[in-house]
């Protein structure tokens, strides 16, 4: 169990919890970030920049501060 922002680049993990407020959780849902979905960090932006995430076939970018609000579990894929 670790925050998405701490997940190793290139490793798949399942989203286990969203600790975001209502509005942001809605936006994440719309972008495909939902509990139970598999997510992977494709790359980390330079200079503490945003993360490039892959959920299914969709790529999104998300700042590290916001990614810290998403809990993931990489164990099932280990």
């Amino acid at each position: 169990m670790c925050a998405l922002s701490e997940l190793a680049t290139g490793r798949d993990a399942k989203v286990t919890a969203l600790r975001a407020d209502h509005d942001f959780a809605q936006r994440l849902h719309a972008l495909g970030v939902r509990i139970g979905r598999s997510v992977r960090i494709v790359r980390r932006g330079p200079l503490n920049g945003p993360l490039q995430l892959r959920i299914g076939t969709t790529d999104i970018m998300l700042r590290r501060a916001e990614a810290a609000l998403i809990d993931t579990d990489a164990a099932t894929y280990a």
Partner: protein
Amino acid sequence: MKRIALLGMPNCGKSSLFNRVTGASARIGNWPGITVDLMRARLLLGGQMVEMVDLPGIYDLNGYTDDERVVRDFLGTQPVDLLVMVVNAAQADRQLRLFLQARTLGVPIVVLFNMADEARRLGIGIDPAAFTAHTGAAAFSLSAKFGDGVPDALAHIGRTLASSAPTQARFDALAGADLEHALDHLTRQCIDTPITLSASHTDTIDRVALHPLLGPLVFIAAMALVFNAVFLLGAPLQEGIGAVFDGLRDHALEPLLAPLPAWASGFLIEGIYAGLSTVATFVPLIVLFFFLMALVEDSGYLSRAAFLMDAFMSRLGLDGRSFVMLVMGFGCNVPALMGTRIMRARPLRLLSMLIIPLSLCSARLQVFLFIGAAVFPAVWAPWALLSLYLFSIAAAVLTAWLFRKRFASREPFALELPPYRLPTPRHVLLRGWHEVRHFAHRASRFIVAGVALVWLLTHLPVGVDAAGTASWAGQIGGWLEPLLRPIGIDVQLTLALLFGFVAKEVMIGAMAVIFGQETGTLGDTLAQHMSIAQAYSFMLFTLLYTPCLSTLATLKSESRSWRFTTLAVAWPLALAWGVAWVAYTGLSALTG
């Protein structure tokens, strides 16, 4: 009249479909949320006239952005016969969430799985028959970009409309809709997704385009390429058009107008015709610039720029989207200002709106292309132009940094990185054509009036030397001169700036009138009139000072605040003077 509304998420190709079906050329941006105004069109479907409305692309019917509210307000107040839901087939696994919301509204729905070609390349299979069996909604696979499958879908829509009745959406069931389970279920039933995608071209390009060091270099190289191509290809075209206009004047217009009194033929030829023909020579440059920008924009590259720049922009109190809007502002500030509606936090939006007018729009580009070509040696001209773009970005950065505390905000930044797309010639041509038409439209309103006004101000009261110190224009220039002399801007150039306040498109035409020159010779006159230091200072001032009237009107209408609008005028004016002073003083010392 029957009415259908297009509903879909950003990047589902809704605008492409709208353009293909209606033949109009609404702007197509491979960028979430660029469609802000409601586009309408009438078309013949199944033997009846139908009104088609293109709703803004939204993620969520329950959301709180301006666009989401617009869609809810529209559907809640305007009865529609049919909701046409456009889904990006390559992302159906998440875009169908909006369908699950929309079907609770009680309005008949047809689902169009767009970009079927792209989905097929990614190995994603959609089964419209299974979808219909599962949901009861008719579904079609198509490609709005290439037109495959569009006639079938339209024929079905036409048949459906023959027996439809206008329905107003009801929102009572929306909040309680089961989305997550239903979405998983639906996805399993009718979408066949490969578990791991083959290493696609997008990933390969992204390894370079999003590389920490190569990425920014690629961005600067791409922009430099665009500007050099505009110069290289545009200059001969520009000369050709100038020669045609001069020939028309010498052989047709002058003999034709000879019977008129001198003041009247002077007004028509030296005033209106000289101004208009100067402006007309810019059309090839504008066309080229927008063709190239359409290539960059439609390819999906702009979101990569947002990714690269977000770390930097966040230190300025902005985010990657602000940077992209700044780049969009290179085309025209007005749509870029309107594009900030995708930002929810008002301070973030205002700060973005404060910096967008500093971006070098196509109207200013004309002025710089002309002066650059006229005054600078040919090898320097593209680099002088590139430096102006860098100044434009630097001014925006400085402004954001200075005002970041006043407009502090905290908005989560979550944005899609769409796969790269190969823009079709049709798209690029439509975009270029749309921009030229837009330019010509503004030209007909602003430029003719502007040029006529300049001629009158420079030739009245009756009997004065054209643009002399005794003319009305000379007097206004005289009042402002003490203010602008320290930055190397004399009376005539002050006048050009004055008219540039209305619209930058007017400036070159105004200069033709002010200097009493014809299209072909204005450049030579300017080269003799201005030193390089003066020319550069003038260009910097033009770059940064008050945006045109249209931008000003947009700033006011979007911010709904006179205080903010005043700030957005006063600050760039002060900045323009300061920067031009430094450049003029420095360059004068260097070039002796």
